[in-house]
């Protein structure tokens, strides 16, 4: 375990060295995601000028949703996104070969290789906002409540991680998947809206097929006591299942690579 921690520290160090090399990238790196969160805040604030509740969600709950989505997005971008986007290149240029010979968990290595330190400010900003808005919604949280809430956010991160990892695994079958990964960013735009505003059919899709509804809405529904215990358990189960599915895809991809390439 310590070894893996040390390796992440090394990757962090490299990312900082690179960030200092390309200062503009570092500064601009997290700006897009930050503006995206701010624009959503402005949009919902404007919307709630005319109403106090949308599909049972108060303005504070919706803003908390925006920040949770922002946090998951920025943590994902911080650790994984760049590495995942690079996977198709590794496959195409054959650099995956030498990576396969490292005595280490390859999925770990592929996931944490390219850290984007520019996201650090977004991570901090969203964490602070989540703490503020959590306190607005509910005041008497017990420790188990807090832990479960954090666990739900972690499972959101796992779902997002598994989702994007799976997309980049498609590169084993279709070499150019960068466009697919790019378009899929749009899913965040859909996912950061309260799941209850959608028609039943679409809610099902965002629960079971592309579980971004589970990822982002469940933590808030839990805080507001609108999440049944069975849904809570289902939420965790979906995260585990999605992670496992992405691993199956990963295994198959590697298998195809090692039996088909030259």
């Amino acid at each position: 375990m310590l070894r893996y921690f040390n390796i992440i520290v090394k990757f962090l160090k490299y990312a900082f060295i690179q960030a200092l090399e390309y200062k503009a990238n570092f500064i601009l790196g997290g700006l897009f995601e930050f503006l995206w969160v701010i624009l959503n805040v402005i949009f919902f604030k404007a919307l709630y000028q005319n109403t106090t509740s949308i599909a049972g969600w108060s303005v504070d709950e919706v803003l908390l949703l925006v920040f949770i989505c922002g946090l998951v997005d920025s943590v994902h971008s911080f650790f994984f996104a760049s590495g995942f986007i690079d996977i198709p290149n590794l496959i195409r240029q054959g650099n995956l070969d030498l990576l396969l010979l490292k005595p280490i968990n390859k999925r770990f290595f592929l996931s944490f290789r390219l850290i984007n330190v520019g996201q650090i400010l977004n991570v901090i900003f969203n964490v602070v906002m989540i703490i503020i808005y959590t306190n607005k919604i509910t005041t008497n949280l017990s420790l188990p409540n807090v832990l479960l809430f954090i666990l739900l956010i972690i499972s959101a991160l796992i779902i997002v991680n598994a989702f994007y990892f799976s997309l980049s695994m498609l590169a084993f079958w279709v070499i150019k998947v960068n466009a697919i990964i790019g378009y899929s960013q749009e899913l965040f735009t859909v996912g950061n809206k309260p799941i209850n505003v959608y028609p039943k059919m679409i809610q099902k899709i965002f629960t079971y097929l592309i579980p971004l509804g589970v990822a982002f809405s469940y933590p808030i529904l839990y805080l507001s006591h609108k999440l049944s215990t069975s849904s809570l358990i289902a939420g965790f189960a979906i995260a585990v299942i999605f992670f496992a599915l992405s691993h199956v895809l990963y295994r198959r991809g590697i298998k195809k690579y090692t039996s088909a390439t030259s």
């Binding site: 070894r3 040390n6 390796i7 090394k10 160090k13 490299y14 060295i17 690179q18 090399e21 240029q93 054959g94 650099n95 070969d97 030498l98 396969l100 010979l101 490292k102 005595p103 280490i104 090692t258 039996s259 088909a260 390439t261 030259s262």
Partner: protein, 327 residues
């Protein structure tokens, strides 16, 4: 002690037949014709600990595919591979820690970061002890004479310097076997020499097994003691490099520097069976059979003494031998 044992391995790739033009591409969408290519065919050989094996063959002969099967990157379609008692393709960590691979055309370094950082990462990945890490690094830096370069951003290093860093990186965990796939490709002569010398010295000190592919036969001649030649996925030769040269060369090269018009030399040689490889007014290169080379030299020395400035007898070079082999 045998460290590599290969029995009857083959590797077949499948690929799609690509048809020409847009119409062809559309056709491919509906129906793809699957073709297969046998990159390696029924290869069997074994390699002893400490051997330095040169693995040569033309482009597409199956060299890299074989190395990839030995290291565990690719799975053979059939046959058995045993490396250090492991099936390489299982890629067990214990196995991976005992081997290493360098590919001349691929890099494991980080462009924006000094090589020393990549070394430190490998220290963690391979779990190398601090003392062993320091000692090995010092030794390799000295052997390759790279000194302060390890602290320089990789993108500012020359191609040769980068390859030296790749070698250090791949040897830090003291592997027992190293696979080198064209390690000197694109490098200048000086860098090539440094790398060859270093490999030899490292092998002598640590008894590491080296398997090296190269198109540069000087690599093979200076570094390797054993030779494997592969063509169309099959082994054509497997044995000592010396034996190969002995067996394949029935001729020697006579190099003559003339002090005046070589007409007389030519006339004398005309009575013997020789092949003039090149000539001008000052020098001649002549191919002569091994048996008659001494006799011819004697005759030339006695009969054309005044026409000859210098004369030398040389082995036909590897390049030529290999070319002959393929023709």
């Amino acid at each position: 002690m045998k460290v590599i044992n290969v029995k009857d391995i083959s590797k077949t790739y499948q690929y799609y037949k690509k048809q020409e033009g847009i119409r062809g591409s559309l056709k491919n969408l509906i129906h793809k014709e699957i073709l297969s290519k046998e990159a390696v065919r029924n290869l069997s050989f074994s390699i002893e600990k400490g051997d330095m094996v040169g693995f040569i063959g033309m482009n597409g002969a199956g060299k890299t595919t074989t190395l990839k099967m030995l290291s565990g990157i690719l799975k053979p379609t059939s046959g058995e591979v045993d490396v250090l008692g492991y099936n390489p393709f299982d890629k067990k960590n214990d196995f991976l820690k005992r081997i290493s691979m360098v590919m001349g055309s691929r890099s494991q370094l980080w462009l924006d970061i000094p090589a020393i950082e990549a070394f430190a990462l490998n220290k963690e990945i391979y779990g190398i002890e601090e003392k062993q890490y320091k000692d090995t690094l010092d030794e390799l830096v000295e052997l390759l004479n790279v000194g302060q370069l390890i602290n320089t951003q990789v993108r500012r290093l020359s191609l040769g310097e980068r390859m030296k860093m790749e070698l250090i990186l791949s040897l830090l965990h003291s592997p027992e076997i190293i696979f080198l796939d064209e390690p000197t490709i694109g490098l200048d002569v000086v860098s090539q020499n440094v790398i060859r010398k270093m490999l030899k010295a490292y092998n002598q000190k640590h008894n590491i097994t080296i398997i090296l592919t190269s198109h540069n036969l000087d690599d093979i001649e200076t570094v390797c003691s054993k030779l494997m030649i592969i063509d169309s996925g099959q082994l054509m030769f497997n044995g000592q490099l010396e034996d190969f040269i002995q067996k394949q060369t029935s001729t020697k090269i006579l190099r003559i520097k003339c002090s005046r018009d070589p007409a007389r030399i030519k006339a004398v040689m005309g009575e013997h069976r020789v092949e003039i490889l090149s000539e001008d007014n000052e020098r001649m290169n002549v191919k002569v059979s091994k048996e008659s080379v001494m006799q011819l030299t004697n005759i030339l020395m006695s009969e054309c003494m005044n026409d000859i400035k210098d004369i030398s007898i040389e082995e036909a070079d590897m390049q030529e031998i290999i070319c002959n082999l393929y023709i």
